[in-house]
């Protein structure tokens, strides 16, 4: 169980080397987590938060408009309070406040976060947003994470994962918005509810590291008690048939 979440976290972090001198984080490229409502984005973000909090590096900054209704378990039977303490939740109520938070992130005292998470980006993009505004928000998220990485110094830097809810029947405006975001978030992980996978509430996660590695797919299952398991999707060419993954531990 330990290794599964670790594999997922490492998968989310991707752990690639720096691409350019300006972008010095080694925590992997920024990741965009995409899926429809109820596809497990929040749970996955929170799992990443718990994992990062347990690493003993820096706090985790978790931004979302509304407080989480329930805390997904992630791995393990109980939530470790020491880890929870290291996750700083902030709830910018509007886009304006979110932008202000990001622009002033360097003013904050205290240790720099090792992971910056934003849940529900779509809630901050409502209204009349042109490409410039969308790009500005995405770029500021990257810039904030880059600043935290700079503060942390050489090493892993600060990771960035942003969750965006997408519609099945999005319009062209949505498509444009998404392609803009994909400029700044080269790595994407798509989540989809999958009734065929193991476990009761099962999702299929498809990770595209954006040119820094091969694509990979997993089943992510949530048990009734909230515990999460990750199983590699059986490697097959295009036919997600009834070949259900075994319950063995996932490999990195």
């Amino acid at each position: 169980m330990l290794r599964m979440a670790e594999a997922l976290r490492r998968a989310l972090n991707l752990g690639s080397s720096a691409e350019s001198e300006e972008y010095t984080t080694e925590a992997g490229p920024p990741l965009l987590l995409l899926g429809g409502p109820g596809s497990g984005k929040t749970a996955l973000l929170f799992t990443a938060a718990l994992e990062a909090a347990g690493e003993g590096r820096g706090p985790v900054l978790f931004l979302t408009r509304r407080p989480l209704q329930s805390l997904p378990r992630g791995r393990g039977a109980a939530l470790d309070p020491l880890r929870l303490q290291k996750i700083r939740f902030q709830y910018p109520p509007s886009t304006h406040e979110l932008l202000q938070l990001l622009c002033s992130a360097h003013e904050a005292r205290g240790p720099a976060p090792s992971l910056l998470l934003l849940d529900g980006l779509e809630e901050y993009l409502v209204g009349d947003w042109g490409p410039q505004e969308v790009a500005y928000l995405a770029a500021l998220l990257l810039d904030t994470a880059a600043h935290f990485s700079h503060q942390i110094g050489p090493g892993q830097g600060c990771g960035l994962i942003v969750a965006l809810q997408i519609q099945e029947q999005g319009d062209s405006g949505d498509a444009l918005q998404l392609s803009l975001l994909q400029r700044y978030f080269p790595a994407q992980c798509w989540l989809q509810v999958d009734a065929q996978g193991p476990g009761q509430h099962c999702l299929r996660a498809c990770l595209d590291p954006g040119g820094q590695g091969p694509r990979a797919e997993w089943w992510v299952a949530f048990r009734p008690d909230g515990e999460m398991t990750v199983t590699p999707w059986p490697a097959q060419a295009g036919n997600p048939s009834s070949d259900k993954g075994s319950s063995s531990e996932g490999q990195p």
Partner: protein, 145 residues
Amino acid sequence: MAVALPGVTLPSVVEELLSEMAAAVQENAQIPDEHLLSLKFIFGSSAIQALDLVDRQSITLISSPSGRRVYQVLGSSGRTYTCLASCHYCSCPAFAFSVLRKNDSLLCKHLLAVYLSQVTRTCRQLQVSDKQLTDILFTKKKQEA
């Protein structure tokens, strides 16, 4: 081979050109003609405009005690545009149009000028307070309204 990530990194051919230019500038304090030609080939008229901005020392690197940085470029129109240091974003309309919307340019002339000023080391430097840096990052959006 590394893939260019449009908002974050440059294609490797551009990276190579810039580092060759940097090496040449270190030796001769001048960008060789062949590099200028390559620049023009890749970036078209933006290259000339960007070089002009560099010549006029129009690029300023603004930093605060926190270590966070941002670039400001004084455009030919007299307006100041803000370019982020960590990824490709410029507050100018050409960035929104040619780069983001039409996707037929990699960079606007201001972002290219930032890269070139790094190569030629002709960037002005300005120290501001943490609070002032926040204002620079935050209000620029309203400037373009």
